[in-house]
Amino acid sequence: MADLSINLAGIKSPNPFWVASAPPSNTAYQCHRAFEAGWGGVVWKTIGDPIVNVSSRYSAIHSGTSRMVGFNNIELISDRSPETNFREIRDCKRAWPDRALVASLMTDTREHWHDYLKRSADAGADGVELNFGCPHGMCERGMGSAVGQNPEVIETIVSWVMEVAEIPVIVKLTPNITSIVHAARAARKGGANAISLINTINSITQVNLETFCPEPYVAGKSTHGGYCGPAVKPIALNMVHECAADPGVGIPISGIGGISNWRDAAEFIALGSTGVQVCTAIMHYGFRIVEDMIDGLSAYLDGKGMASVNELCGRAVHSINKWETLNLNYKRVASIDYDTCIGCNLCYIACEDGAHQAIDLVPSTGRGLGPGRLPGKPVPQINEEHCVGCNLCSIVCPVEACLTMVDRDTGKPPMSWQQYQERLANGEMAPIPAHP
């Protein structure tokens, strides 16, 4: 069985699955339950000067029968005292010496940062995570994303922290920024040992059309909330990759954002995360989800012949490149498997109205019972000449593996935009004619 253990900038854990700093990591009780379930690490709910929360804190978007595909909250950091939090961290660490226990911190002055860092180390935490990410509430008080949105401030605060750091320091970044790379580089410059991303994204999930006030509703008002859950995964993956591919960052990454299962986790790891953190999926289904995360990831690694999860780390980073390096002479086209096609014609109308009018409806003669169960009902047929290989139809087709994209040999050697521009400049070729 593949070795799942990781070492993130000196923080060791038996598997790459950590509970993110959030309500699931609020108390010792939850921390014990998480470790019992098998989580490799817990990042404690962010500790700071105790705050007061409002009642009514979450909201979500649902898609069809899938609940909570996107989740938002207006909660602040821990509402318990630092004393309580550090005491419980100490107890948990004693009970679970082999797991990673990271204290998440948020405060303001240099003295306060020094104080919290010392107390974290004293409590036995394996590392700290600096929360520069909360996009709501705390940022109005100059903390959270107010810090994370300003690379200079990131660098300054990290360097304060590093003055006294005896345990590894992770900087948690906010995605509410034009370029995550600049924030990540600043963390590195300040001396951080690792970064974690993403924190939540500024959001309003919905407007109640009766009251004209969004949820979460607080006595006639609402506020911008932090968005997370499955819907944010693509944004998080993109940012993780940007950091992983940037030579100016170059420190380990703890990937976060919309991870619900081992597949999501494996994708984060393949894009350069050493380990991952999970919040929303736990808030939805509880700590038990880690069982399949471990099971599924090991099976996957075994199947791939990888002895350790670290072999997966960064495997996909190099496949993502600038657009201008892509091969302009590559061609793929849509192809329909008529044995499984059900005749919903969704591919047809998508291409007709939303793409390139490359699908025709033609008589179904000779094609078995015919899609849609109506003998003689027209069936969709790809017009390869018009198909630009955009993938739209294969995305809308509701039948698994029915409408697939297949490669077509163009007989032309690969040519990127860069090369195309060079050849044009050298007069080696005529411009590719514009699409009719």
Binding site: G64, T65, I342, G343, C344, N345, L346, Y348, I349, E352, Q357, D360, L361, V362, L369, P371, G372, R373, L374, P375, K377, P378, P398, V399
Partner: protein, 491 residues
């Protein structure tokens, strides 16, 4: 022994309750979300009234319930009853592409009910007559589904319509004949209110031919639509048929719709002769109203029964019994009351002819016999009302595809013309005839319904089932037979 009611009011209410109760809001949402929103969807082609099924389901999914109801009622003014009584597995749901994914088809009927219930319970007006009347008048004979379908469409096209029915309430079999656990008279009448709101005048309790003559009507109106449905049940033609406890299925069912349920008399041992859908309705309702034994007696085998498979299943679930290959020879009596049936076993030869097995006769005790052999066309009535009207050999009205009879200003539709099909066919025929009458009265041709999204798209649309309804399971069976592969059970 004479017949008596057998249940208390509560028991009767419970046992006759709807077999398919309304969806909750969330159930409807979940089901609506399953629909793929097909383009040129086969379910539309399989609906005889051509309801744009994906359009109304999408509206349910977005919470636009009133819009969903409007889409349905505009295509089918009896959308609420059709939602409950249509044999959907042979129609729209039988065509749903989900079946090709080896999944349950979308429950179109129940979703249709959700949307139409919303309209009826919130008393919204979804059908509208044009501001300018055409000045033409039409009389409709028969306020059943065909007459109602025609009247609603005529009113929407601006014509003044007066509907005659000999019964005290409108609706035809929808109000008096459909199994109570599928459709109650209240729903049927609630839906008819929408048609009344269009300005259609109803003269119930008025029998054409008796209370008013066709001549009188013709003086008042520019065209007539005939939708008198079918007549009496075919006779058994066996001794004892005139005993008091030998009743026609429709008379038995009508009592269920006109009396309090706990006042409907039934026997303890009820025999129902025949095995069509009406027979199933009769036997299940007899059982549900307290009969100890409710037994179908059918001269052919189970495979030959005209009833839908799902109806057969329902009757079996209700605890009804079936005597196949059994022919009633005589009704036995005791002191002037039904005491049993003399039955003979039959054999069906390869040509489909039924022969009695000699010496197989026996007597089985029953105290009630319900005749459900199908209904006769009303040739006699039609001949008296319209002496010049051409009838078919079967006694139904001869008509053109658009419903016009041999008398140019007289149109027809529904059971009286098609010999007995479904409610939805009757509505569609009424509607189709209304459009033909509109042209006859000088109006512009009316198209549709067409899927709104279909406009302007290259290639030929299949059109909606209103133009040419398909029954997929039948088409499929036919296709498979032609291809030489065995017919799969699809309903």
């Amino acid at each position: 022994m004479s017949l008596t009611p057998r249940l208390t009011a509560e028991q009767a209410k419970a046992s006759m309750a709807e077999i398919e109760p309304a969806y909750t809001r969330q159930e409807a949402q979940v089901e609506a979300d399953r629909c793929l929103y097909c383009f040129d969807a086969p379910c539309i082609m399989a609906c005889p009234t051509g309801i744009d099924v994906p359009a109304f389901i999408k509206k349910i999914a977005t919470g636009n319930m009133a819009g969903a109801g409007r889409v349905i009622f505009e295509a089918n003014p009896l959308g609420a009853s059709c939602a409950r009584v249509c044999p959907t597995s042979a129609l729209c749901e039988g065509a749903c592409v989900m079946l090709d994914r080896d999944q349950k088809p979308i429950k179109i009927g129940r979703l249709q009910r959700t949307a139409t219930d919303h309209i009826l319970s919130t008393k919204q007006r979804v059908l509208h007559a044009p501001a300018r009347a055409s000045g033409k008048r039409v009389a409709v004979i028969g306020a059943g589904p065909a007459g109602l379908g025609c009247a609603a469409e005529l009113a929407r096209l601006g014509h003044a319509v007066v509907v005659f029915d000999k019964k005290p309430k409108p609706g035809g079999l929808n109000t008096y004949g459909i199994a109570y656990y599928k459709l109650t008279p209240a729903v049927s009448l609630g839906e008819i209110k929408l048609i009344e709101d269009l300005g259609v005048e109803f003269r119930c309790g008025t029998e054409v031919g008796a209370d008013v003559t066709v001549k009188q009507l013709e003086k008042d109106v520019d065209a007539i639509f005939v939708a008198v449905g079918l007549g009496r049940t075919y006779a058994l033609k066996i001794p004892g048929e005139d005993l008091p406890e030998v009743v026609e299925a429709l008379d038995f069912i009508e009592q269920i719709h006109t009396k309090p349920l706990h006042r409907v008399p039934v026997g303890a041992r009820v025999a129902v002769i025949g095995c069509g859908n009406t027979a199933i309705d009769a036997v299940t309702q007899a059982k549900r109203l307290g009969a100890e034994h409710a037994v179908i007696v059918y001269r052919r085998g189970a495979a030959d029964m005209p009833a839908y498979p799902y109806e057969y299943e329902l009757a079996k679930r209700d605890g009804c019994e079936f005597m196949f290959n059994t022919l009633p020879v005589a009704v036995e009596s005791h002191k002037g009351h039904v005491a049993g049936l003399k039955l003979a076993r039959t054999r069906v030869d390869p040509e489909g002819k039924v022969a009695v097995i000699p010496g197989s006769e026996c007597v089985v005790p029953f105290d009630m016999v319900i005749k459900a052999l199908g209904q006769e066309p009303q040739a006699g009535l039609l001949k008296t009302l319209f002496p010049k009207m051409k009838l078919t050999k079967a006694g139904t009205i001869a008509r053109k595809a658009d419903g016009q009879t041999s008398i140019p200003h007289v149109f027809c539709g529904g059971d009286a013309a098609n010999g007995g099909r479904e409610v939805v066919n009757a509505v569609a025929e009424g509607k189709k005839a209304a459009r033909a009458m509109h042209r006859f009265l000088g109006g512009q041709p009316v198209e549709g319904p067409v899927q709104a999204t279909r406009m302007g798209v290259r290639g030929k649309p299949m059109g909606s089932g209103f133009d040419r309804p398909v029954r997929v399971p039948e088409l499929e069976a036919e296709y498979r037979a032609k291809e030489g592969t065995p017919t799969a059970a699809t309903t």
